[in-house]
């Protein structure tokens, strides 16, 4: 067996392993897992399985220093260029590895409880949140989380302590969809409580006025926070298939306000998709102008796609 054959076999083996892992990242399969930690491990491990080399590894933003390699350090961080020049092994350390705080802000309002399939928007947000928290934990970053609906429901301050991950996961586990949404008031409150610069990952369906949201997010950015918006929408909200299949007028009930709206099939088929698309576009435009990462999430979408898109967005921002 020559080298080229072995290389081909190896690539084939990694590809099939990646396909199997990708299957496991389907939201409906992840929903069957009992704990968020297991979900997070599955996503993270599955996402990186088969990757030869990830250009997106790590969240930290700024190079801090070189450090002599010691036993126990991850050999993947060895700067081989320096080794080539100096014949000594150093590892590259970023600033964030030691003091970057990751804030996960999750909308747990009633609208997030909507589901047209097996996974609600809130549950999908929990998956993303757990995955990011797990990833940050592996990166030894400080991670914290804040849940809100019409007020701040619960908060875990960012910390590098290993238990913080489990506190975050436990908080997510026990949280159910609440009542109405006051996203701007909640952001104002969060802004006042965050003292340390860091990453803010916000997961919501963003049923709010874009301009007001922009003003509040800009305040966070002015405080030195890097913001990423995970816009989570259900497949039924993007493409109301079940309603479109209906041949008669329907009455739709707002999960937050309880308002009942009679809509025609024609409206749901033609007008509504245009309106939601315009809203998404407005959010994306706002994020682009303000330098925020914007990640649209469909609850029917595999999580690795979301992660890949997120990291790609971050890379572009750099």
């Amino acid at each position: 067996m020559n080298a080229s054959t072995r290389s081909a076999d190896s690539r084939s083996s990694r590809q099939s392993q990646a396909d199997r892992s990708r299957e496991l990242l389907q939201p409906k399969l992840l929903a069957q897992l009992s704990s968020l930690e297991l979900v997070a491990k599955t996503v993270v491990d599955g996402f990186f399985t088969g990757m030869h080399r990830s250009p997106f590894f790590g969240f930290s933003q700024e190079f801090a220093e070189y450090k002599a390699y010691n036993d126990g350090d991850d050999p993947r961080f060895i700067d081989w260029n320096v080794y080539a020049r100096t014949d000594r092994t150093y590892i590259k350390r970023y600033l964030g590895e030691t003091n970057t705080a990751i804030n996960l802000i999750v909308d747990v309002s009633a609208s997030m409880g909507y589901s047209s399939g097996e996974v609600s928007k809130l549950r999908y947000a929990k998956f993303i949140c757990a995955t990011l928290a797990y990833l940050a934990r592996k990166q030894h970053d400080a991670v914290g989380a804040t849940l809100f609906d019409d007020k701040i429901r619960e908060t875990v301050p960012p910390a590098s302590h290993p238990d913080t991950l489990y506190r975050v996961l436990a908080m997510l586990e026990r949280t159910e969809a609440g009542s109405g949404t006051q996203i701007n008031e909640s952001l104002q409150h969060i802004t006042s409580t965050l003292s340390k610069r860091g990453l803010i990952f916000m997961m919501s369906d963003f049923y709010c006025d874009t301009d007001v949201l922009k003003r509040n997010l800009e305040v966070l950015a002015q405080h030195g926070h890097e913001v990423a918006l995970f816009h989570i929408l259900d497949a039924g909200e993007l493409e109301p298939v079940s309603i479109r299949e209906m041949r008669s007028p329907s009455t739709l009930k707002d999960l937050e306000t309880g308002n009942e709206v009679k809509v025609t099939a024609d409206f749901m088929r033609e007008d509504y998709p245009a309106r939601i698309a315009a809203h998404i576009k407005a959010l994306e435009k706002m994020a682009l102008r303000c330098g925020f990462a914007y990640v649209p999430c469909n609850t029917a979408q595999p999580l690795d796609d979301v992660m890949r898109q997120f990291l790609l967005t971050r890379q572009q921002q750099r």
Binding site: Y114, E237, S248, P249, L252, D254, L255, K262, T264, R275
Partner: protein
């Protein structure tokens, strides 16, 4: 109506319909959760409008369904005049045009009353003018008031009689044809003799208004005459005359007997009020009369004889010629018996006819067959054709007919019924003593042939007979003691036959040697020829049956029937007063046709009977809303009686509603499925 009737079963299906519709409605999810209504608000207004519009249509359909269902069970009835056309009523003006309406001022009064009634008719009403006498005729024209006035101007009273019983039947048929409420106005003199025996026969169905306008007036009077030929022979006759006085005062009258405008005799009679006087002219020389005598009231002291048409009476005279009776050649002995019996009456003579030559023209309207068992197959076929064309026959079955066709024609069973004595069973026909005689059982006394001879029939003993099978329409005239028919009358084709189920033999019965036999044969001839009452007068408006091969001439000597109709029997209405002549191959008969003597009695019925008639007619139809209204007529002399004004003419609408319900159900189903597109669960 039973609950298992198809209509109710269809109704049950309709009851299931709302439940099914409800099921359809439940299939439509009423409410769905949605993440946010943020982007639904803009489209909510228009969709809501469309939705409501569509649901209103569906709601209307379902509401109509339920309403119709309720109406069906309520069996609605609506006033048809508001649904159909613009006419409010069908006004039927029945005008009495009988002879009695000629009395005094009755006819002018009638015209005036009808005119007044037409003045009150709404322009939207339909008006029918009906002339009522022996027939009920509606003049040509449309149904407007103008046309009715023109039709009224053409009417005039005739010489015939009106019967209120027949009038009631005619009104019923007129009402049945109407989809509108019917108002009937009867303009008549309320003659007592026009009333049927039972008042209940006058009950009218389905009318809304029934008003009787009486044209009779107080103080009316009439003298009338009738005559009768009591005896006629050798140009001499006895004539009886009755003069009736229908007034409240006594009077004297001169009665004149004349022949062809020449006076033969005259007599003065004194008649009391509301009474009659009888006089007999004896030994009148009729040689001067061509065909009839006439008695007439030449003069009277009474000033109140207001009807002239009944002041004379025609009496037809027999021409003295013998009438030929055709006797079909058969058994010689039987023919001799029959010939002897028939020719014992000087009016008749017999003519023997070969069976091969039998036809309507050769035999006339009457045929006697003394022994049908002797006829050949061909003769039987001719006989059958003769009867089908309307010929009449007296048939003595004779010994067992050998021709099957004859047995079939007469419904005679092939086996001969015998009643043998105990010690001599099976002997031949020539030994009558071997059979036990059987007496006559039930006799139909109402039949003309036996009305006066039933006691004579009891003396006849029957030794043998053939079993006759009777069918519906057969009339058994004489039965044996065991109930088997001996003499029956039956219709075959257009003709009639009298069938004697025995033979003219002493070994079969004693009829041929019984004095009854002559009366039997003559009576049968008179009955079958239809001239048993020829000596009696006929009334104008009567109809008679003219036998095949015969021609009827009116008083002017003109034939009434076309030649093409002569071969068949037909009925002819005697519409003129005078002497009719009936000519056939067997001879000539004269019929004197006079006015109906019942029309001469012009006295009206009392008001109680009129009230009973009207109440009986309306109580049955409109028991809930009938009202009575009696008013005096504006003429003062006549009494107009208006009764039973019922403004509602209702007709059941449930068949239409049921059909509409089914159509609506179909529309609702199509609308639900195709337009609203209700989602169904998989």
């Amino acid at each position: 109506m039973s609950l298992l009737a198809p209509v109710f079963l269809a109704g049950l299906l309709a009851v299931v319909l709302p439940w099914w519709l409800h099921r359809l409605s439940r299939d439509n999810p009423p409410l769905q959760d949605f993440g946010s209504s943020m982007f639904l608000q803009a489209g909510e207004t228009t969709s809501s409008k469309q939705t409501q519009l569509r649901y209103k249509k569906l709601f209307s359909l379902r509401f109509l369904l339920l309403a119709l269902l309720a109406l069906l069970f309520a069996e609605p009835a609506l006033q048809l005049s508001k649904l159909i056309g613009t006419s409010d009523y069908r006004q039927i003006m029945i005008v009495d045009t009988s002879l009695s309406q000629r009395l005094g001022d009755r006819w002018p009064t009638t015209i005036e009353l009808v005119g007044q009634q037409l003045d009150d008719v709404s322009a939207s009403d339909e008006v029918f003018i009906v002339s009522a006498s022996h027939q009920f005729q509606q003049p040509e024209g449309d149904n407007s008031v103008t046309a009715a006035r023109e039709q009224l101007a053409q009417l005039k009273p005739g010489l015939t009689r009106l019967n209120y019983g027949q009038l009631a039947s005619a009104i019923d048929s007129l009402v049945e044809q109407s989809n509108l409420p019917v108002a009937v106005h009867l303009f008549t003199d309320t003659q007592a003799t026009a009333m049927p025996a039972r008042l209940s026969d006058l009950t009218l169905d389905g009318i809304d208004r029934f008003t009787i306008h009486s044209t009779a007036a107080a103080g009316e009077a009439n003298l009338a005459i009738t005559g009768q030929l009591d005896y006629s022979a050798d140009a001499m006759a006895d004539i009886s005359v009755i003069v009736a006085n229908y007034s409240d005062v006594s009077t004297e009258a001169t009665v004149q007997l004349q022949a062809d405008d020449s006076a033969l005799d005259a007599v003065n009679l004194s008649i009391d009020a509301n009474s009659s006087a009888v006089h007999r002219f004896t030994k009148v020389d009729t040689s001067q009369a061509s065909n009839a005598l006439e008695v007439r009231i030449a003069a009277s002291t009474s000033q109140t004889d207001q009807l002239a048409e009944d002041n004379s009476w025609l009496i037809a005279l027999p021409d003295g010629a013998q009438t030929e009776v055709s006797l079909l050649q058969s058994n010689a002995l039987a023919n001799r018996y029959a010939t002897a019996a028939i020719e014992s009456d000087p009016r008749y003579m017999t003519r023997t006819l070969e069976g091969e030559n039998l036809s309507a023209s050769s035999a006339g309207g009457l045929l006697v067959i003394a022994d049908a068992s002797a006829l050949t197959d061909r003769s039987t076929t001719k006989l059958k054709q003769y009867l089908n064309d309307g010929g009449n026959a007296l048939i003595v079955v004779g010994a067992e007919p050998h021709v099957a066709q004859m047995r079939s024609l007469l419904n005679v069973r092939s086996a001969t019924t015998r009643q043998p004595a105990a010690n001599n069973a099976g002997n031949t026909d020539n030994q009558p003593s071997t059979f036990r005689p059987q007496s006559i059982g039930r006799i139909d006394d109402t039949h003309p042939m036996t009305a006066d001879t039933s006691s004579n029939w009891r003396s006849v003993s029957v030794l043998r007979h053939l079993p006759l099978t009777t069918s519906e329409g057969d009339r058994v005239i004489v039965e044996l003691a065991d109930g088997t028919p001996l003499l029956i009358e039956r219709s075959i084709g257009d003709g009639r036959v009298l069938v004697l189920a025995s033979a003219l033999k002493s070994s079969w019965n004693g009829l041929a040697v019984n004095p009854l036999f002559v009366a039997f044969m003559v009576g049968a001839i008179e009955h079958l020829s239809g001239f048993e009452n020829a000596s009696l007068d006929r009334s104008v408006g009567d109809s008679i049956s003219v036998p095949p091969g015969a021609q009827l001439l009116n008083p002017a000597g003109e034939p009434i029937r076309d030649l093409s109709d002569i071969k068949r029997k037909g009925r002819v209405v005697l519409s003129e007063r005078g002497v009719y002549t009936l000519r056939s191959t067997t001879g000539t008969e004269l019929l004197s046709v006079n006015t109906d003597s019942r029309e001469s009695d012009t006295r009206p019925i009392n008001s109680d009977k009129i009230a009973q008639w009207q109440s009986a007619s309306t109580a049955e139809n409109n028991a809930d809303t009938a009202s009575e209204d009696q008013a005096d007529n504006s003429t003062g002399s006549s009494t107009a009686t208006a009764l039973t004004d019922n403004n509602r003419h209702t007709k059941s609408l449930w068949p239409w509603l049921l059909a509409l319900l089914l159509v609506l159900a179909l529309c609702e189903t199509l609308y639900s499925h195709r337009h609203l597109r209700i989602k169904r669960e998989a």
